[in-house]
């Protein structure tokens, strides 16, 4: 094995009572791409934050290039040659690329000299690594994929030898992701070391040399990528065997349950987020809406569910219109059989500070069966919650526990149980498996298929192409607020990817 670029020895870190990292040992060889996978909350981000100086480890040692390094702030990390590309970019939107790159690395009182030097240095980096970006472009005008390149340039400009990328592909189209991987390979060839944090196993298999798996704050395994399989990694992450494929039969769609016609929605700034969108969801089918986050999917769902007002258009639920202008009452829509699993379960779908049983009636708290006059029927609510816990295998099986103490997957099951058990005719689901552990994904997918087979109309919005492809009977692709295409479930990833990127953006993205 080559010489180690980074060695972590016995790193432990606790937050109050939570032990986020427990005695982590990790060795990353120079000039390799090393993947770190794990479920949400496994401690990946904490570990990288320690390496980058955001947190201090409670115990353990960091060695960079064989020498013990004391990394107390991000500046120490940069000095040691470590650069980080965050999941959420740390760029000044209204600065140019060049200005962003030198930010924090200006050398004189006047900028002129630093800018000139940075420009020639940038040109060199761009040539060397295939990181083409116009140095004078304003960052906010760049597509996300290019913004990410700016982040990488920033790190390289500061002399990073080791590059940490935290969930880098979450916001990218498949084509942009491929391009990123090409860049990473090039970096590797030039002798840089790359640490890639992700929960997408496909990416790990595609690009890494070695991979480490974290579970519940501990490093449970390190493998050479060529000697492992997706199934093995999934099992290591979850701690048990997981079925990754979704099994489903033919759909037998019936009459239209939800009909959206010419719907237009603007956000609070008046920007058109949904632009004359029309589609139908029929009984007994799952319609998937694919698209990169931020292309109007969220606004579309919110408008249909009465949370956001629409500018124009009509939505028919079972042939009867939904009031879109005055922001319809979500409670009334529930009465009419429209259930909604929101994208953001932490702030919208659940009240984390509530007990589990309190969340199991959110939105349905006016129903006769949960109330005695103006009072809540606590016994009925808890019995009902216990039933759902049993049926959906929600763990821990304690309806009095605060919802925040459940894992992401179990929280999502609480929402799903609540919405599905009201037996709605139409189910709208946003990002059903975002931040959900692999084991729960399997369960959730089965539930959605079961809804479909029971003759319900399911509208699925997800940024995970795999999910869309394996669940949907029809796939709609949304780009910049418009539906730019409809495909069958057999559409290839590349085909959908191009649609998601918008045809006119094909050159920049590819």
């Amino acid at each position: 094995m080559a010489q180690a670029a980074i060695e972590l020895v016995g790193i432990s870190k606790s937050f109050g009572a939570v032990r986020a990292n427990r005695g982590i040992d990790l060795e990353v060889a120079r000039g390799t791409i090393h993947g770190i996978v794990g479920e949400n909350g496994a401690g990946k981000s904490t570990l990288m934050s320690i390496l980058y100086g955001f947190y201090q480890a409670d115990s353990g040692e960091i060695r960079v290039g064989g020498r013990p390094a004391s990394i107390r702030t991000p500046n120490d990390a940069i000095a040691a040659g470590i650069g980080m590309v965050h999941q959420h970019f740390m760029l000044v939107d209204n600065f140019t690329v060049l200005e962003n790159v030198i930010l924090g690395a200006e050398s004189d009182a006047m900028l002129k000299k630093s800018i000139a030097r940075a420009r020639s240095e940038l040109e060199r980096l761009e040539r060397e690594y295939g990181l083409e970006v116009d140095p004078d472009a304003i960052v906010e005008e760049l597509p996300v994929g290019l913004q990410q390149r700016v982040e990488i340039l920033k790190a390289l400009y500061r002399g990073a030898e080791i590059l940490i990328l935290d969930e880098p592909t979450g916001v990218l189209t498949p084509a942009e992701a491929d391009h990123l991987f090409r860049i990473l390979r090039q970096l590797k060839e030039q002798g840089k070391t790359v640490v890639l944090i992700t929960h997408k196993l496909r990416e790990i298999m595609a690009i890494t040399d070695t991979v480490s798996v974290m579970r519940q704050g501990a490093m449970v395994a390190t493998r050479e990528t060529k000697n492992t399989t997706v199934e093995e990694l999934a099992e290591l992450m979850v701690g048990r065997r997981v079925l990754l494929r979704v099994e489903k039969g033919e759909a037998s769609p019936g009459a239209a349950k939800l009909a959206v016609d010419n719907l237009t929605v603007r956000d609070s700034r008046g920007v058109t987020m949904v632009d004359r969108v029309s589609f139908e969801v029929r009984a007994g089918e799952i319609v998937g809406i694919a698209g990169i986050a931020g292309n109007g999917q969220s606004e579309l769902i919110e408008a249909i569910c009465g949370i956001r007002r629409a500018v124009s258009g009509t939505v028919l639920l079972d042939g009867r219109p939904i009031d879109l202008t005055g922001a319809a009452d979500p409670g009334e829509l529930r009465e009419r059989g429209l259930a909604h699993v929101p994208e953001d379960r932490h702030h919208v779908g659940l009240v984390l500070a509530f007990e589990e049983n309190e969340n199991s009636i959110l939105g349905y708290h006016d129903r006769e069966r949960y109330a005695k006059g103006m009072f809540l029927d606590i016994d009925a609510i808890r019995d009902d919650a216990r039933e759902k816990i049993e049926k959906y295998d929600i763990r821990p099986a304690d309806c009095r526990l605060k919802t925040a103490n459940f894992s992401g997957g179990n929280q999502q099951k609480i929402v799903l149980a609540r919405e599905i058990e009201q037996n709605p005719g139409v189910l709208i689901v946003g990002q059903p498996t975002r931040g959900v552990d692999v084991g729960a994904i399997e369960f959730i997918h089965k539930r959605l298929i079961a809804m479909r087979d029971a003759g319900k109309a399911v509208l699925l919005v997800s940024v995970e192409l795999n999910e869309i492809r394996s669940l949907s009977d029809r796939i709609l692709v949304m780009f910049e607020g418009r539906i730019v295409g409809e495909r069958g479930p057999d559409a290839t990833e590349g085909e959908l990817g191009l649609l998601m990127a918008g045809v006119e953006r094909r050159e920049t993205a590819a």
Binding site: G16, A17, V18, G41, H340, F354, M374, L401, A404
Partner: protein, 375 residues
Amino acid sequence: MSTPYARLPGWADYGLIPLINLLVAFVVAGFVVLLVGENPFRAAVILVEGAFGRGQGIAYTLYYATTFIFTGLSVAVAVHCGLFNIGTEGQAYMGGLGVAIVCLSFDRMLPWWLTFPLAVFASAAIGALWALIPAYLQARRGSHIVITTIMFNFIAASIMVYLLVGPLKPLASQAPQTRLFLEGGRLPKLNWVIELFGGKVRSAPFNVSFLLALAMAFGMWVLVWRTRFGYEMRTYGFSPKAARYAGISETRVIVLIMMVSGAFAGMMALNPTMGDQHNVAIDFVSGAGFVGIAVALMGRSHPVGIVLAAILFGMLYQGGAELAFEISRDMIVIIQGLVILFAGALEHMFRPAIEALFASFSPRAVGLAASGKDG
């Protein structure tokens, strides 16, 4: 990485932490007493004996506590809805107007047990109405409730001064207050209860509004945790987005809960007026509304906590009066300030350390077992 989250057992959360905070407040206060050259133990003895030593002291402590229960409930109930009602002071002051109207009109003809319910209703209604305007402005116009309620305190004070030096003042009087209420506007004392337990009470204003306060504390518990409206209001308090998703009307929740808050505040007026002074005088609230903020904080916005915290502050007021007499007036102000500082403002100071301590003893007790389970 999800948010580091730990959960303490209830007795530690609601018992141990407030107790530690209180203890620290008294230790620091002790040093202050020492600094000015007095004996802190003597001061402590005077304080506690003054409050609980004799029946007389206990009666006064409970009298003050009554006031603070009302204002504490007022602040706390709004906190559950995510609203910070700083206007309790003004709402209580305006509640006095309701008491004055009822008592001045009916004290000649009705017995106390008929005027009392009327006065309860009138004071609560005016308190609620006084909270309605800021609530409406918050719900419909987005004017921040903290700012508007503070301003409404000043408006309330001005209105009451105008009324008490004008329309409500007897003609020949020079004092800015109403005439004395007659028998029908005076609440019976509860001092006999203390005497039942062997305490001696010469004369103290401890009266039946204490029972009303306890009933309201129970009422708040029912409202917040057992009604559908309480559920909607807590949902909104924790997450306005979740409330929107659940079809809960923001305007309705904000307006109603602020009116409840104002009603609790308004009822506070009964205690010092009908219960003690038998008139409505200028500035009769004298900061009780602001003490209510500290009481609500310390009582963790739970009725039981509020009653206990109100008794603590009642003790500080009563024992403090003794201390002011024996040592100095400033001393008690300092001690009260320190209690508010440690129990209220620095409520979370010792929490991380205590959570870590509990976790090291038993990770299960703080809910770690839960977060480790798979999906």
